[in-house]
Assembly symmetry: C2
Homo-oligomer: 616 residues x 2
Amino acid sequence: MKEIDIKGLFLGPKSENGDLFKKILTDAINEHLYWRKDFHPEDEPIVSLYEKNQENFRLTEDRIIQVVDQICAKLKVTSMPWHSPRYLGHMNADILMPAMLGYIAAMLYNPNNVAYEASTATSPMELEVGKDFAALMGYDTGKAWGHICTDGSVANLEAIWYARNLTSIPFAVKELRPKLVEGKSDWQLANLTVDEILDLSAKVKDICDEVRDRSVRGTGIVQKQLGKWIVPQTKHYSWVKAGEIIGIGLDNVISVQVDDQYRMDVDVLEKTIMDLAEKEIPILGVVAVVGTTEEGAVDHVDRIVALRKKMEQRGVSFYLHIDAAYGGYARSIFLDEKGDFLPYSDLKRQLHEKGVINQDDIEWPPEEVYSAFKAIEESDSVTIDPHKMGYIPYAAGGITIRDRRMVDAISFFAAYVFEKGTESPALLGSYILEGSKAGATAAGVWAAHQVLPLNITGYGRLIGASIEGAKRFYSHIQMNRVLDIDGTKVRMETLTRPDFNMVDFAFNVEGNKDLDKMNELNLNLYNLSSYVSGPVFKKDFITSHTEFTYDDYGDAPVNMVKRLGIERAEWDRVHSLRLMRACVLTPYFMVDKVVEHYWETYLDSMKRKLAEVLSK
Amino acid sequence: MKEIDIKGLFLGPKSENGDLFKKILTDAINEHLYWRKDFHPEDEPIVSLYEKNQENFRLTEDRIIQVVDQICAKLKVTSMPWHSPRYLGHMNADILMPAMLGYIAAMLYNPNNVAYEASTATSPMELEVGKDFAALMGYDTGKAWGHICTDGSVANLEAIWYARNLTSIPFAVKELRPKLVEGKSDWQLANLTVDEILDLSAKVKDICDEVRDRSVRGTGIVQKQLGKWIVPQTKHYSWVKAGEIIGIGLDNVISVQVDDQYRMDVDVLEKTIMDLAEKEIPILGVVAVVGTTEEGAVDHVDRIVALRKKMEQRGVSFYLHIDAAYGGYARSIFLDEKGDFLPYSDLKRQLHEKGVINQDDIEWPPEEVYSAFKAIEESDSVTIDPHKMGYIPYAAGGITIRDRRMVDAISFFAAYVFEKGTESPALLGSYILEGSKAGATAAGVWAAHQVLPLNITGYGRLIGASIEGAKRFYSHIQMNRVLDIDGTKVRMETLTRPDFNMVDFAFNVEGNKDLDKMNELNLNLYNLSSYVSGPVFKKDFITSHTEFTYDDYGDAPVNMVKRLGIERAEWDRVHSLRLMRACVLTPYFMVDKVVEHYWETYLDSMKRKLAEVLSK
């Protein structure tokens, strides 16, 4: 079967594809250089060969060479070896060659996607990428919209900006056209669905300026109307920033307890909402996370969607945002080549048939993860980061919204953005949070999406390889639960059966009942497995770590602590758990020989480090 | 004298320096490719030559080539020729080779400056660049701080975030430690200076969590404490967005009338502040613009600083932010090689001696522009965009603050960021607005600053060349005020004597008294001088345009309208003025031969277009 070979997409751990990269890049640069010359060939060159041989010119060349050399040297001394399967730390791996090449090719022309006239080539690419995001999330691309952001933090801030502004519209309408909301109490106005708000907005188009001026946009925040923004305990810290910046304050950002799989506990969420509703405190919005930062957990989006439907029967509604900054691209796995979400019964067969998951005994996804990904299509907006599971160079985040009429709630212009029949409005900067932005980013993401479509045989196979790698790493840990370190037995436990491609784990000396000691062991191990300074190449493996405290996670870590042989009372005393955290983004762990080599090297290295730590 | 030759810094209008660019880039890529191989040489390659000859691998290569070719083709068809002196439109020109090379070299390693451990090479570069920003603005680098943002809109939002959070701190202290502010009324608390707020914060370090929770960060916005955010009419639209996002609302963003030089009228500002003070409405902050987006005007920062001092005598203070997104880098011109601000008496001589301005009869800067740049050092924060006058590829904005203790007012962590003696805190993302960000941007900006220091002989000479170009363009217009177009006399007028490197101008047929007709003429001319679709190379010249309406500018345009021979009454009737807008960023208009060639070609082209428009 003719299909993309994932191993041909990257420079490679040993620069295997370096020649191709250089060839394509050289071509792209030459194209650009001749393009410059071809613009009005009658204009003479400004710099002559004679001038280029003058001392000051030579000095200038020399200065540039020296500075770039310095940069290369600095980069070589300390950069993280994200290209190597020895790096199992943060959400980093090698990045896609087409994305790098697309970026560089476009950077030569330096387009600015803030305005169409400054980016005639790359603005349409961003529009296509936005549609790709929408289609990926199951939104109706005829109604939805999306764009690239600088990162997920900014996308999250934009999402809460949407929610805040939309929520305040019905109150502005009440002031200006009370008849349109006649008979509705403030509580009812605060609980309109997004669709109801958009339909209401459509009825006041003739006074859109006044509506804007009487909404939160004009008046500033009127606290009581807005209500609470609800996130899981596993939220990224950008949610705290966003709630603060947007002006609702941390008092109005509520964290909901997660279960021992680190998924938001939907029963607790329901109770939280019920309690608030009882006091007539509105819910500004709920965030479900698809791929939590520290655990890779996937919240029960389907159950949250069901909860919203149930609550709407009782007159309580809220904006639903999915923070899929990390997990978003993985929805590709569930889409067939036509973009349809595959039935669960069919999916597992196809995953193996199409080489998304190669090892027979890997069972993924569990039904709850499948259902969660499916239900994303019922949300109002989604954050998705190309620079995470899109294998795109930094900085490239993204957001997509279900209904593009929402844009009018944040647009600088009073006029309705998408009304004029144009899909490519002239001034993108006037209806997103950012202003000037690199068109090169759009070219990079667009290139990646062209080479790897957002479906099962495109990105699905790449991300499948990563999940398979995580599962294999997880299985190896399971098969090596007790290590013998010079006679001392050390237990290795994983935090969860991973929902995605992240494996958290910790070590404890068998018989040790002291949580502080266990935490110290893991911290010491981490210090030997992380990079601070000096030559990077001395590191055998590089991983990241995390710490779960009671303040952030409640009692979610108790289960893990117990499995490591430590009593609940110790948790209650220490209220902190340190873990290793391995994001397995490398796409090469679907090759038996590769995974075996690196696992054995890894285990050897861990044993040596354990011996070193224990001998102290 | 040994010095940088500006013409050696860019690829060049005719790709004159293409060979050097390719040579350095190839070296940087090879360095990277061998670095990959050198990380644990004992690991075998994952892709073999045999595998690379398989059909699927070949297909993958082919797919990448095709997609990058498509991108190159799209870019070539429509991209703006920013490299050519025929482009005199937006704030765009060729970009610095060292910045591009630094960016690409770093992108291969893909560092993420959100956290030090993900960017051990490029985080220190960002720190240095931040110091460069601070030094450039005359801040004490021992106390100040700065960082790269994705763009000026985000930097501006961060500035208002600082102002908002700082302003609310005294009220939190009043609740928690009333003795510390004993005897002070709410009005007095709302009028503490930034220094007083920071000193007060220092006294409540032991309860910094509680202070945060009782300030706007915790409670959300309490409107009356915050007051008004004051901007000039010439503000960038990102200020409207920022005021809206931050939750104070457009009602609390006040635009102050500009004078006929398009500088904020400081008398009007004073009156505005006095009126508000009389009603005990606080001033959250004032923005002075250094390089307005549409005119390149420089606000009287010195007079605003003086006004603040005067007001402080009366118990009224406010945060002062400088929006120097556009003009910021130009402060280099005023700094000697030691970083000292040159005395005015000395400056003009040095400008000519050091080749910053080459043509003898060019008189720049006027004293008011000089004084404005000087006074930036007395502001609280400054927005500066490397991707504008830094000649850096998109996206690269920046911000610098006078006192780094301010960071604690927005930092996610309660702990004091700069207290531990570290200059390079571990998690940048936790105390700026953005999260993940390209380390490559820092490498690009750092490279540019290394090659061109931020002083008179570094960036000063580059930006001087641009200002000289604008002045020469302006002079040529002055010398050709009346054009004969097949017997019809057409007058050409410039909006102002430019403060910086932007020239706005308009045409009118002599004798025409109809403002609508004049606007139509200029719009038609613009349409012939701008790019919408089709082959770019058919365009002789490309410019941008702008429209001044009464709603945005009040009566500031009256002077220009009159000079074009149109009565005041017409302005009162039409309330709109259309202009051509030429940002002269090209660095080559300091060469006589070059500027003569392009001016003659430009004038010919304009005459032909005028003839075409007038014949219809």
